[in-house]
């Protein structure tokens, strides 16, 4: 394998797309448009077209929000944290994971707006100077959310772009079509001088260090949306680490779900190898064990507290109206991933793909169970609600969010190198006299 072959192989993915890609984009955009229609219908008619049932005033949208924020986690973890730990295997999967992060945060960021009663006033959540002298309430975790999510989006987008810059320069030099002027602008005049490389490496390291605490903070803050409330089932000190572990868990599952088909479609088997997937699987197993431990801790604490509200909520979660969701969540998130202890399973990509889908479902259900079942069974028994029945609007918007995410992801991988050319070259044995960027 030479630098030239790397360039050829990876930039080949940017050549004119095939019908498979077009088909994928059409499907994804259609789904996104269905979601957009459902949202506009909801905004026009009233939020009541969603399945909310008093007192379950948060439902599918917040579930989707937390789910997408969770998906956004592995990207930064893989690119930043593993970069700092010099885990070289990350190179092959980092770019896809970073892109996934950015698009997942973008998707997630829409859900609070979809969720609120008056989405046209979403900007009131931002502390901006205004003539009415209104300000936001910094004691509310929702305001923390605004900052956490926007910071995370900014940093992860910058991080992605920074890593992309030398690769865009490579594309600028090789791709001779309408995209070249865009690449030219985006490459910011990258010439691959050692001075530029020096600065790039320093900045990349700096951003990795900046992004690493965000991996912890973002989902901690999201978890505080729940943990800061007094609702049993939410009000828990373990929520921050529990949610972070869960986010990484679901994020890795999503990386596997996305990378396996991409690897086959782009014939990148020699770059993204079974070894990489096995490492991801190990990470997934670790986080699954943490999540499973957190589940058990919640139940233990509820039992040990002797608190009638806590006990009632957790009993209801296991044996109440939502028992099916809860047990499915357990199965997907805790029991099935135990198979990853078996090396033969870890290295079986088909099995890994199926498992990653299960984990995605399980983690979505986890958020659903936490939000909906806790709200349905709170303090006052006179309030207890029936089973939440989502409507087509919520379904369409959820599906639409996947459509939006895949649209962005598909557009990205066809227009930008989905595997880092630079880092692939760095990971090779350095041939004498070769300039990694300009060969």
């Amino acid at each position: 394998m030479s630098f030239a072959k790397i360039n050829d192989d990876i930039l080949r993915t940017l050549r004119a797309p095939g019908p498979l890609w077009y088909g994928g984009v059409v499907v994804a955009i259609s789904l996104a448009l269905v979601g957009l229609y459902a949202f506009l219908y909801q905004a026009r008619t009233g939020l009541g077209v969603a399945g909310y049932e008093h007192p379950i005033l948060w439902g599918i949208y917040i579930t989707d929000f937390v789910f997408w924020v969770g998906i956004a986690h592995s990207g930064t973890l893989i690119s930043a944290v593993l970069f700092l730990f010099r885990a070289r295997w990350r190179t092959a999967v980092a770019r896809a994971a970073e892109a996934m992060t950015v698009f997942a945060v973008m998707t997630a960021g829409l859900f609070p707006i979809i969720h609120i009663g008056r989405p046209w006033f979403f900007y009131w959540l931002l502390p901006y100077p205004n003539e009415r002298q209104l300000w936001v309430n910094f004691r509310s975790p929702l305001v923390w959310d605004v900052f956490a999510i926007s910071t995370y989006l900014t940093v992860s987008a910058m991080f992605l772009y920074l890593g992309l810059m030398p690769d865009i320069a490579a594309a600028r030099d090789r791709i001779k079509d309408w995209r070249q002027p865009i690449y030219k602008v985006l490459a910011l005049g990258w010439r691959g001088t050692s001075r530029q490389w020096h600065h790039h490496a320093a900045l990349y390291g700096f951003f990795a260090a900046l992004a690493t605490p965000l991996v912890i903070s973002v989902h901690s803050v999201v978890s505080w949306d729940f943990a800061m409330a007094i609702l049993p089932g939410w009000h828990s000190t373990i929520f921050a680490p529990y949610f972070v572990a869960g986010a990484i868990f679901s994020g890795i599952a999503m990386v596997i779900t996305l990378l396996l088909p991409m690897r086959r479609a782009f014939k990148l088997e020699s770059y993204i190898t079974v070894h990489h997937f096995e490492n991801l699987a190990k990470l997934m197993l670790t986080t699954s064990l943490i999540v499973g431990y957190a589940y058990l801790t919640e139940f233990f604490v509820a039992w040990y507290s002797g608190n009638v509200f806590e006990q009632g909520t957790f009993y209801d979660r296991m044996f109440g109206q939502y028992w099916g969701y809860s047990w499915m969540m357990f199965t997907c998130n805790v029991i099935l991933p135990l198979l990853l202890f078996i090396k033969a399973f870890r290295t079986n990509l088909a099995a890994l793909f199926v498992l990653s889908i299960f984990v995605n479902i399980g983690m979505w259900l986890e958020r659903y169970v936490i939000i909906v079942s806790s709200l349905s069974h709170d303090f006052d028994p006179a309030n207890w609600a029936g089973v939440y029945q989502p409507t087509w609007v919520e379904g369409a918007i959820t599906v639409g969010s996947f459509g939006l995410f895949f649209t962005l992801f598909l557009l990205f991988i066809k227009n930008f190198p989905a595997v880092s050319i630079t880092e692939m070259k760095e990971s090779l044995e350095q041939p004498a006299g070769a300039d990694p960027a300009n060969s």
Binding site: G46, P55, I116, N137, F309, D380, W384
Partner: protein
């Protein structure tokens, strides 16, 4: 190129035309004009004549009119608040002797009768379009033509000497309207007049006629009953005067000197009234009389009777000699010892005579032996010395209704072709009479039917000419619900539709008919003049002047007392009271010749289950079903909304293979209905129950095709002795159908699950001082500063009877929208105040220890909702209110998630108030838009009004200046509102009561609402 230029030119000219200044000018002039014209469908001139402003309409200032509620015969006094010429709120009149300030859920909702969008907009005549298919349309016509039609038809019959072939059906009118109708009926040529009331208490009246020679419903003095046993009387729900009785009862049940008046209810289905009882005993249907008879037997046998001559006592003993607790125990389902205990407690000699009370005769327990049962209950009162004391015939109800049997006879006459013209005023017999009686079929045989009704209903559907009348809120009138009480109605606003007062129609027709009788009707002034004349005649003469030196002058003064002053005073106060002569009653000797106990034995059941058709708190006999509030507010016991079904125990449901929400066919010998199953554990064995009042077919958009009408199952045969409907005891069979039609319920379970939401204390513990005031937990956060006022509320769970009056008052006061049945299925009620109900096990009672818990925003000092709102849409005011800024709210709904009481309501849709219901909206309260959160404000607009009144009078705000709508309406006075910063205020004092506690106190939210624990009896 040319095209481009043209576009450019035209766009620049547009900019020139609409300059900023011009634009602002247009905006400035057009905006208010649009806003003004969009106010209401009624022209502004009709609401506020600006040219000659009436002195009592000041924009922004409410005008109050005293009137009388027309929703049921109880005749509660009301104060109607009007704003800019529209009635917006009804409150009980504190000076009225019947209700003394409270008002029930139906009374609150009468505004929705006034503004009902389905009201008949003007006179209409039926035109048959297809006789074969029975199709017809209603054509509008002018009032004068319509009235002339009525005159012509009556004239033709009267001149032909067939005036007696006219039937006039009215409600049991009292006061001037009764006198006018009597005169009118005579003018029609001796028309047949039936005063129809579905709940006419025929059995009670008949039994009192048999026993005492007085066919009356007496006044029951709950305020002086130290021991009360009710044989199925739902005196807190419908009965003869629910608001007044609720007030008396709650007052008497307060703990005084370490004692609490005991209340026992005996009935086959736990009513809301029974839910407040210390003991509830489930008996088999129609066996209440046997229990009472056995009690009499025990009392006499144990020589505990009081105030009865010995020979009379012997005669009574002979009447009930064939029963004893032991013989009736198995039939009734009570234990013999239990009956003996009831008898002993009821006749406790330590209490002295006349300090206990037995009431019976509730509609829901009136069956084939209703009269015998009522007689037995009356005798029970007699042997305890209660008649003349707690049973007062002096202030008896003036209810003078025909019996159901009279209506049935009228129906037979109609079928026989003896009636040629029927004039029906404001009653709905087609709906309320037993289906088997087929009054609709009888009406079809009448050649011409004229309706004087405000609202379309099942009866007006058979009318050929509709002359819509005013509702009571638009009418002059008076009411004499019980002897000595004279209420006065005055119109509170211009008629909403093209309607006339029924009295005006009668007078106009009476004069137009001519002849000798025309002189009986005033030439001018219509019913108003007639009413004044009546009151002038009724006015007590002034005290004679002692020094009668100049006879002529003083005679003149006596002849012309100051009527205008008297009239104005009566109008202002809502009526007047006259002294009532006490009435001595004695048992008639004929009573002892009857076979009382024989008549008491319950009929042999013909089918598997016995049906109880009971009057509904909300719908009464069905007349409330077209009020959206009454449909939306959940039933107090079942928490069902927008529908009724067949109630059965889980065992019965299992036996027929049905579950909650499943449709079952209910079949009796007289009819069949399909009804949705409602599981109700509080029924005697073998009993199913259906509330009366739903199942309408032509009563407007809110009522039609909803729930089930049980009268379709009842026998047309009246109860033999009294002629009343046999509401209970109909044998039915149940067949489960494979169809689910669940009725939305706003509370799914009634178990507190250890949460201690509604708390109680036993009387013994309370008396012994064995109550532990809750300790206020330590808080890291500083308390809010409340420099002037801190508004608070106290709610006495011992007084609350669950009647929903507060809920309806809140709907009316605070512009709370109605959501409808489908949204109720997702629990999306907008009510700021709900009554929670919990069942706790109650030793010594067949029923539960039932707790009603009114739950509203607790206005916490440490409110969890306030900290989580990202935009400060909810915050704490310096008067201790937890305020919600609607137009700042973005609708994250986090506040509701964090509210432990879950009292916040989210506007899922833009609320709709169907015209003209929108005229009821309170202008002092914002109507909320979709996407925002709302909740109880402690009636901040009323706080503001109270503070303004105090400021206008240049004095500080005093206790009682400010009260919330819920507290104002509470018949039991369970809710007290006031300033907790004022140590002398009632709410402050109640806050220091030994029974005081805060809901979910362990969260240290420091609520401004203090609950007072229910006092449970000592077992």
């Amino acid at each position: 190129m040319r095209g481009k230029e043209r576009v450019k030119q035209s766009s620049s000219s547009l900019i020139e035309v609409v300059e900023r200044r011009t634009f602002l000018k247009v905006l400035g002039s057009a905006g208010p004009a649009v806003a003004l014209s969009a106010c209401s469908p009624i022209t502004p001139e009709q609401i506020i004549p600006f040219v000659i402003p009436p002195e009592d309409v000041i924009p922004g200032v409410a005008t109050w009119y005293a009137s009388v509620c027309g929703e049921c015969p109880a005749g509660c006094g009301t104060l109607v608040r009007t704003r800019e010429g529209r009635a917006v709120k009804i409150e009980g009149n504190p000076e009225h002797p019947i209700n003394r300030g409270g008002l029930c859920v139906r009374g609150q909702s009468s505004l929705q009768g006034l503004y009902n969008p389905d009201r008949i907009p003007g006179p209409q005549r039926r035109r048959v379009t297809n006789a074969a298919a029975g199709q017809s349309v209603l054509d509008a016509l002018p009032w004068d033509d319509a009235q002339q039609d009525l005159v012509d038809r009556v004239q033709a019959l009267r001149d032909a000497g067939r005036g007696d072939r006219i039937a006039v059906i009215t409600p049991p009118l009292t006061g001037t309207m009764a006198a006018l109708t009597a005169t009118w009926v005579e003018a029609l040529g001796g028309a047949r007049w039936v005063r129809y009331e579905p709940f006419a208490y025929e059995a009670t009246r008949e039994s009192n006629r048999q026993l005492f020679g007085r066919a009356e419903v007496p006044h029951y003095d709950f305020a002086n009953a130290d021991y009360l046993i009710s044989f199925g009387a739902d005196f807190l729900e419908t009965f003869s005067s629910p608001v007044g009785y609720a007030r008396d009862h709650a007052g008497q049940r307060r703990v005084r000197n370490g004692e609490k008046a005991r209340f026992v209810q005996v009935e086959p289905r736990l009513s809301m009234t029974g839910a407040s009882a210390d003991e509830w005993h489930a008996v088999s249907p129609e066996t209440e009389g046997l229990v009472a008879a056995a009690m009499i037997q025990t009392i006499i046998a144990e020589q505990r009777a009081q105030g009865v001559p010995p020979e009379t006592l012997d005669a009574i003993a002979a009447l009930v000699s064939s029963v004893s607790p032991d013989t009736v125990a198995s039939t009734t389902g009570l234990s013999a010892d239990g009956i003996r205990d009831l008898a002993r407690e009821f006749s406790d000699p330590a209490r002295g005579p006349g300090r206990s009370l037995a009431v019976g005769g509730g509609v829901g327990v009136s069956g084939a032996n209703a009269t015998a049962t009522a007689s037995t209950v009356a005798l029970l009162n007699y042997v305890a010395g209660n008649v003349g004391r707690t049973v007062d015939f002096g202030a008896a109800s003036t209810l003078d209704a025909s019996t159901y049997a009279d209506m049935q006879a009228l129906g037979d006459s109609m079928r026989a072709g003896d009636i040629e013209l029927a004039i029906i005023y404001n009653v709905n017999p087609v709906f309320a009479m037993p289906g088997e009686a087929d009054f609709a079929g009888a009406l079809a045989e009448v050649p011409f039917v004229i309706s004087l009704s405000s609202l379309p209903d099942e009866t007006t559907a058979h009318a050929d000419l509709l002359l819509p009348t005013h509702t009571p809120l638009e009418s002059w009138g008076d009411s004499n619900p019980r002897r000595g009480v004279y209420g006065l109605l005055q119109p509170t606003m211009q008629p909403v539709f093209d309607t006339r007062h029924a009295g005006d129609v009668m007078i106009a027709v009476g004069r137009a008919l001519g002849g000798d009788t025309a002189a009986n009707f005033p030439r001018r002034g219509g019913f108003y003049r007639y009413l004044r004349n009546t009151w002038q005649a009724m006015q007590p003469l002034p005290e004679p002047v002692a020094d009668d030196t100049d006879g002529a002058e003083s005679d003149a003064a006596a002849e012309e007392p100051d009527f205008e002053g008297y009239w104005a005073d009566a109008l202002r106060r809502g009526g007047t009271t006259l002294a009532v002569e006490p009435v001595e009653v004695n048992l008639l000797p004929e009573v002892f010749d009857t076979d009382l106990t024989g008549a008491l034995s319950p009929p042999v059941p013909s089918r598997s289950y016995a049906l109880i058709a009971y009057p509904s708190l909300h719908f009464f006999d069905g007349r409330g079903a077209n009020r959206p509030w009454l449909q939306e507010i959940p039933d107090p016991m079942l928490k069902t909304t927008w529908g009724t079904g067949v109630e059965m125990t889980a065992e019965t449901a299992a036996a027929i293979g049905a579950g909650e929400g499943q449709m079952v066919a209910v079949e009796s010998d007289h009819g069949q209905v399909d009804a949705s199953v409602i599981i109700n554990p509080h029924l005697a064995a073998g009993v199913v129950a259906i509330a009366i009042g739903q199942g309408h077919t032509n009563f407007g958009r809110y009522a039609d095709n909803r729930g089930v009408n049980p009268v379709a199952l009842l026998s047309a045969q009246p109860e033999a002795a009294s002629g009343g409907v046999r509401w209970t005891g109909t044998g039915v069979d149940l067949t489960a159908r494979q169809l689910e039609r669940p009725i939305p319920r706003l509370q799914h379970g009634f178990d507190q699950d250890g949460r201690e939401m509604a708390q109680s204390v036993s009387l013994a513990a309370l008396v012994a001082g064995d109550v532990h005031p809750e300790e206020e937990p330590f808080s890291l956060h500083p308390d809010h500063d409340h420099p002037v006022h801190r508004w608070g509320m106290s709610i006495d769970l011992d007084a609350c009877n669950g009647c929903n009056a507060c809920v309806a008052a809140c709907y009316a006061e605070n512009n709370i929208p109605v959501m409808g049945a489908d949204r109720m299925r997702r629990g999306r009620t907008m009510s700021w105040l709900r009554i929670e109900r919990f069942d706790e096990p109650a030793p010594g009672s067949d029923g539960p220890d039932n707790r009603f818990l009114p739950m509203l925003c607790q206005h916490c000092d440490h409110a969890p909702c306030e900290t989580v709102c990202p935009v400060f849409a909810t915050y704490h005011t310096e008067e201790g209110l937890n305020a919600q800024v609607y137009n700042r709210c973005v609708g994250t709904r986090y506040c509701s998630n964090n509210c432990p009481y879950k009292v916040r309501r989210f506007n899922w849709f833009l609320p709709e108030f169907e015209s003209p219901l929108n005229l009821q909206l309170n202008p002092d309260v914002t109507a909320r838009s979709d996407g925002v959160m709302e909740k109880c404000t402690f009636c901040v607009q009323r706080i503001q009004a109270g503070k303004e009144t105090a400021r206008d009078e240049d004095r500080p705000v005093q206790d009682g200046d400010v009260t919330s709508a819920c507290a104002q309406s509470c018949p039991a006075q369970a809710i007290v509102f006031g300033d907790m910063n004022d140590p002398g205020s009632r709410v402050s004092q109640l806050g220091n009561d030994a029974r005081a506690y805060h809901a979910l106190a362990e969260f240290n939210t420091r609520p401004a609402v203090t609950y007072l624990k229910k006092v449970t009896p000592d077992a």
